[in-house]
Symmetry: C2
Subunit: 245 residues, 2 copies
DNA sequence: GTGTGCACTATTGTATACGATGATTGTGGA
DNA sequence: TCCACAATCATCGTATACAATAGTGCACAC
């Protein structure tokens, strides 16, 4: 078995254990459909998710939909209020800070592990990923750019071959996507692209400590692109909406 | 803000602190019953968990049991194999290492936050907790001692008032309990008791850095009490079992 | 005696029916 | 005009029936 095959085999096994432990294929379909829609910001925070409607959209029964929603709720991507149904989560400012704080505890380690383990094939794949990001941004495909930017972090966690870190980072990047959709307010996303690229360079050289540092500062940078000062992103009552006509 | 909005807001906040986002009270009952049984090591790793049987034990329908099992599966305390049912998780050696590695990334931060935030009442409660641990050990109530030892770490995460850290630490301590039940092999647990006690002292003084260091070394110490060298706790094939008769 | 295949059993997967809950609207009275 | 209360509606919560699946043991042929 070649080195690359061995790596891919390792990766496959790692991936098997990773995502949410969903029993059936149909639940996974609904779960994945909802999750990507949320991460793409097609379903913004606060969107109600009635079981019937989702079931109709996916051609699934409420049993299936409920299982998918429960999984998403466990990852805090949706919140369910008893007897009131589910909706896309609306992270508070405090929650947003905590998400990035925990990311900055976990992801530098993932980066340094990845630096130690990355194969040539991994680096190639990452560079291709960077190119996709650039293309999406050039094409002004904001949804796709956001999704790719998040999955870059997940790719690194995968390369680190650390199932638990990967699982937590998956959850945190999902939640970050919601945070970004509520609080992002920086015009230029150039620095981020540069940060990702520098990180890949460090990984390619196997520079574990540098990779960790780059990841750390990248996360600080992301956090600084958020604007928590705006009054309130969400609750605006109907009165407020209709008043200043 | 209207009364209705305020109520929904309160509900939302209440749900936020809930360990696992379980919709109904009955699901929570089954979930909690199973979890404590597992953490107490009354249900050892590998125990099969048929839905009917659990339902009968708790007087609940399979619908309820399934929801509880799914939640436990998400926390990796049980594993479900499609069409084959659920069983108490049996962490591998690799998983065990990872659990403690991630704990040592997260818990020192929790400890230092707790040092900054702990009130006198918190410290009193922690000292009472320590006493309970001592009593359980003195009474040779191994189950209770193990459970208390784990919940000590959770208490600290609660004091840190960091919902995300707390959630992750909850999951990791649960998984640690399974690891301990499979791999623990140290006769003396005295050092641990001492470690907890020193940690509370640091929290009482508000010594954040020292608390973090103590937590870090405590976790290293716990890891060193595990014996991964024994052949294999679980998978031994039938051939291996029958061969060297 | 050995191997193959079939029926049986135990268990999970899914849909659906029915009851319960909470929001909303409409009506009556003060 | 406003509040209280009742009826309505949408939606969720739960039990249960039935289908599907994996595991088990038996019987039969060779």
């Amino acid at each position: 078995m070649s080195i690359r095959e061995a790596a891919s085999e390792r990766r496959r096994r790692a991936a098997a254990g990773t995502p949410s432990p969903l029993r059936s294929e149909r639940v996974r379909t609904v779960y994945a459909g909802l999750l990507t829609a949320i991460l793409d910001h097609r379903l913004p925070p606060g969107t109600r998710l009635p079981e019937d409607e989702i079931g109709a959209a996916f051609g699934a029964s409420r049993t299936i939909v409920r299982a998918a929603l429960q999984a998403l709720a466990h990852e805090r991507v949706v919140v369910v209020e008893p007897n009131r149904g589910a909706q896309v989560a609306k992270p508070t400012v405090e929650e947003a800070r905590q998400v990035f704080e925990v990311r900055s505890l976990l992801e530098p380690r993932a980066a340094s592990l990845a630096a130690a383990r990355a194969t040539k094939a991994d680096i190639t794949a990452l560079r291709r990923h960077l190119k996709d990001e650039r293309d999406a941004m050039a094409a002004d495909d904001r949804h796709r750019a956001i999704a790719l930017s998040a999955s870059f972090h997940i790719r690194i966690a995968e390369i680190a071959e650390h199932a638990i870190l990967e699982g937590f980072i998956r959850e945190l990047t999902s939640r970050s996507s919601l945070v970004v959709s509520l609080y992002w307010h920086r015009p230029d996303t150039i620095c981020e692209r540069h940060a990702h690229s520098a990180l890949v360079d460090a990984l390619a050289e196997g520079a574990a400590d540098r990779a960790a540092d780059l990841m750390r500062s990248h996360l600080v940078d992301l956090l600084s692109g958020l604007d928590f000062s705006r009054p309130l992103p969400q609750p605006r009552s109907l009165a407020a909406l209709l008043g200043p006509r």
